[in-house]
Amino acid sequence: MPDPDFQTHAPFLRLYVEHEPALRGYVRSLVPTLQDAQDVMQEVAAALWKRFHTLSAHEDFRRWAFGVARLESLEFLRKCRRDRHVFGDEMFDLLAAEAEDAADDLTEERKALDACLQKLPGEQRTLVESAYAPGVRMDELAARLGRTAMAVYKSLHRIRTALIECTKKELAKEGLT
């Protein structure tokens, strides 16, 4: 693997940092769990780094990176398909295509998310902070809260739903929807 100094790779880092949130969301839509997405993103980062020299125009970085992320996600699903319940190839392709098409809109939703997070009631913020903290186990968190794991999952889903609704309103205010 090439190992030149940081400065030499400033263009790569700049592009990666710019597009990493979109890539992360994209990968998350293609694999079953957050941990899966984290694992795949490690591989995506490595693959992008390794193949960066093959990118002819920096303007094409996002499209190229989405392609790499799609392949890495597919590879991951093929490996885990035996013992995991995952979507089939057709749904994978459909989601991959639509996620790429919707990338700009999803970027706007992420931008609007900051404001919406600030509006979350304290109890919900605490739950999100706890559930997304490093190394947290949902069964342990649920036990700590005196709830079932499924109840916590559903609460988190409701919070995400509320956040999505909020982002839509924020974007509507800005005339972006």
């Binding site: 992360r24 999952y153 889903h157």
Partner: protein, 435 residues
Amino acid sequence: MNPDHEKNQDLMARYLAGVADADEVRLLETRMSTDAALRRDFLSHANVDATLLASVQPAAIEATREKPKPTRWSGGVARLAAAAAVVAVSWSAFWWNTGGVKVDVLAISGSKASSWSIGSTRRLRDLALADGAAQLRLANGVVLDLVAPVHLRFVDDMHARVLAGSVTADVGPAGSGFTLDTPSARVVDLGTRFGVSVLDDGDTDVAVFQGKVEVHEPKGTTQKQSVLTLKAGDSVRVSSQALVRRQALIATRGESAFVLEPPPPDALVTGVSDNIEDDGFRSFYTIQRGAMKPGVRPYSTLGRPRWQAMPGTEFPAGLLGADVIGTFSADRHERDLQLDVNVSHACTVYVMLDTRGEVPNWVRRDFIDTGLRLRSGPWAGNPVVQGMTTDANGEIHVEYVVWKKAVPTAGTITLGPPYPVGEATHRAMYGVAVK
């Protein structure tokens, strides 16, 4: 609303949590295959899910830390992860004001200065500075200096993780045992001032300015834990493969106390090394970039003496703003010393020689006497100044002649020993500046 909306949401919640069974996955898949709105809703949920995780924990770093795999720490990926986490402050664009560690803001510069006021108290868990610097005091009195780009995550008052960049800790009695984790090491204070830099390839530099620290293998290492004790003036680099070697040069800033800082991309002095290879020898040289002026330290390990103009004269203008290489005083005893200074472009190297000593042949041969003089001081209780008398202010200063050498291009300049054997005890080690 779709009459099956509740069911769809339930299926989606279970799928995204990774707990849906085979029938539920097939059912959700079937419904999504014919419902574009449901697919779009699914994408939004995935997007929010990933964003929440990245906001609460910058995942590239965390995943690497929590699931150490040697190949992932090698070369570019670690560099990528670390650098990305530093640059992408927006990943932590919000952090929660609930929880975290209480800190007093003692000093702040850069873009954070517009929203943080000096003297304010904040609760922090994650702090990423893309520019500027910060000085924070924890409730137990531990003072942390952070120089951007840096990313620090607090575990509690006694424990933090340096994910990228340089952090210097000044630990008082109440903070004894304060611990900084990095990707390749765990550094435990033994009552001291020390600095930790996480490099962009995941390696860690540890430098001790006062007292002692213990350097352990990183948290989560399954191998038997080994411990290395470092004393003041020592520095090591710990690789992600747990290899430890002396780190001969550290970059510092600060006048009253050293603070580690990351090297700038356009550094003139890119390395300093010597030929001293004693077992357990880990002394470091310092580089204070652009810092030459009255009051700057000439030596890496001596706190008191500072460069000064000669009485009644101005500080030599040609030296102002030069990079100051802090040599260590014990170097003066090395009769075979070879001190290599690597520079990235054309420059002038200045060597300041104690006027009490003979001018070494290598200086006479390669350097030009500028006619300029400097002094360092005040000195006290050091054999270097034994036998010297105090001046009118009751202080002792050592005087130096400034020699210079023009370096036409990038390369390595080798400096030699300061004194013949036996003559070094009561002479000062030479000083070095590059401009």
